[in-house]
């Protein structure tokens, strides 16, 4: 049983919490494979998607996860809401709570917003990405996918490639995979990897060949054009030349390596189409697993005593 009514980050979760979520998700994945892909578990509850940053896949995934649990969903789309009339973030959230929401699923460009709302609200707050801080459900679905493919996470060599600095996906994954006992390697240009990462027991590589040698899992990150105004790398062409995942580069990894990407992909930049559509790719399975994991998170949060 989880202890907190909210899912703010992987940082706050124990290994037991993470495993409980993954085991519960396995039960929900079963449901998704049936003819009737819906269970009455959270009938009568309401989830509100409060997205202050563009997102199609995460929002859709949460929406569908809620619907599969028989929870009603409202998408509070920000540009058309009172937000443009100057209503504050907290007022907006309180309004949503007063409308009878049980879950607020929040994405915001500022780190710490979900944490703030969790303190101010009675309802369960689920972080769907806050600035460069965390994206916990992505890390959970990644862990679920790795566990499903590899049986166990402990002892695996897992490489995360690209813009670690600006990536909440990388951050949540580093928290979760180290808690679960994997050995993490970060690969990318020095400008995109935060300093002193070795101190938390994570390997840092500035060459694809050295970094990918004998890894079990490769996670490529999306180059976030929207966060690249400061020139961390010269051009996308050059980025692709040095850090793009191609069949040649992947050849040094283990034969049974799996390739992951949180989407949306920039094909031909951080990942070649040959890899993305190839036999080592589990990218579309990540999407399916995301539904099961988000169902598990809502189910478990609904059972938390207040």
């Amino acid at each position: 049983m989880l202890n907190s009514k909210d899912l703010i980050g992987i940082k706050e979760l124990s290994v037991e919490d993470i495993n409980l979520i993954l085991d519960t998700a396995a039960g929900f994945k079963d449901v998704l494979g049936r003819d009737i892909k819906k269970v009455p578990t959270l009938r009568g509850k309401t989830a509100v998607n409060l997205f202050f940053e563009p997102s199609t896949r995460t929002r859709t995934s949460f929406e569908l996860a809620a619907k599969r649990l028989s929870t009603d969903v409202i998408n509070f789309s920000v540009p058309t809401s009172s937000f443009v009339k100057g209503e504050s973030l907290i007022d907006t959230a309180l309004t949503v709570q007063a409308l009878g929401a049980d879950f607020i699923i929040i994405r915001h460009s500022s780190a710490g917003v979900p944490h703030l709302l969790a303190q101010k609200l009675r309802v369960s707050v689920i972080n769907a990405g806050d600035g460069t801080n965390e994206h916990p459900t992505q890390a959970l679905l990644d862990a679920f996918t790795i566990k499903e493919k590899k049986g166990n996470i402990e002892g695996l060599d897992i490489a995360i490639v690209g813009d670690i600095m600006h990536s909440r996906v990388a951050k949540s994954n580093i928290y979760s995979l180290t808690k679960l006992g994997a050995k993490i390697r970060l690969i990318g240009p020095p400008t995109l990897i935060p300093g002193e990462m070795e101190k938390i027991g994570v390997g840092v590589f500035h060459s694809m060949e050295a970094g990918l040698k004998d890894v079990d899992v490769v996670m490529t990150l999306r180059i976030q054009m929207e966060r690249q105004s400061k020139g961390f790398f010269p051009s996308t062409e050059e980025y692709s030349k040095n850090w793009g995942l191609t069949p040649d580069r992947l050849a040094v990894a283990r034969d049974d390596v799996i390739v992951m990407h949180p989407g949306p992909m920039n094909r031909g930049i951080e990942i070649s189409s040959e890899i993305a559509d190839g036999p080592r790719s589990v990218i579309l399975e990540q999407v399916t697993n995301g539904l099961a994991v988000r169902m598990a998170v809502m189910y478990l949060l609904a059972g938390v005593k207040r």
């Binding site: 049983m1 085991d23 396995a26 039960g27 449901v31 269970v39 478990l300 059972g303």
Partner: protein, 178 residues
């Protein structure tokens, strides 16, 4: 001291009789399957299936059902139900399903289990087999096959301990709240 209701021998005899009754009522094993409710019911369903096989020399399909997603007490239980595996590896449509559970009490688990089964397909019929019926029904549900009827008070718990979980086969009655 907990009071012993059934020992290993009693339990085995009850299950043997229930197997015969299941076969008799269904006139054999044609289109018959057993589905156990997690967890105790799953073990008992397997035992019933092997007894039926001994008697009729026919293998019948056995599934396991987790009812966590169909419960009606998500917000009032002290401990949230753990989600266990639902594994019904056959098409239930048009089958005669015997649902198996260890203890029949309020009937709410059975209601949840019937809803769960209906979401898997359209069975021809659902029958209910329980090892212990302890009374106190809150829903209009009745078992077709019962190992033993045991009148209990609401302040008591019926503990079914099974070999498969690492306990010797034994059913005891104890005061609740322990």
């Amino acid at each position: 001291m907990p009071k012993e209701l059934l020992n290993k021998k009693d339990m085995d005899r009850a299950l043997t009789r229930m197997s015969h009754e299941i076969i008799e009522k269904n006139k054999g094993t044609d289109r018959l399957c057993l589905v156990g409710i997690q967890r105790g019911g799953v073990h008992l369903a397997k035992r019933l299936a092997s007894k039926i096989k001994e008697i009729e020399k026919k293998e019948i399909p056995v599934g396991s059902l987790d009812i966590a997603f169909y419960r009606d007490d998500l917000n009032i239980r002290k401990e949230q139900a753990l989600v266990r595996k639902t594994d019904v590896p056959f098409e239930v449509t048009d089958l005669k399903i015997v649902l198996v559970d260890d203890v029949l009490f309020t009937g709410r688990s059975i209601r949840a289990a019937m809803d769960a089964l209906m979401d898997l397909g359209r069975p021809a019929s659902i029958q209910l087999a329980v090892l212990i019926d302890r009374g106190h029904r809150q829903l209009p549900i009745k078992a077709d096959f019962v190992g033993k009827n045991i009148p209990t008070s609401l302040s008591e718990n019926v503990e079914v301990r099974l070999e498969e979980d690492g306990f010797g086969d034994r059913i005891v009655l104890e005061k609740a709240g322990k």
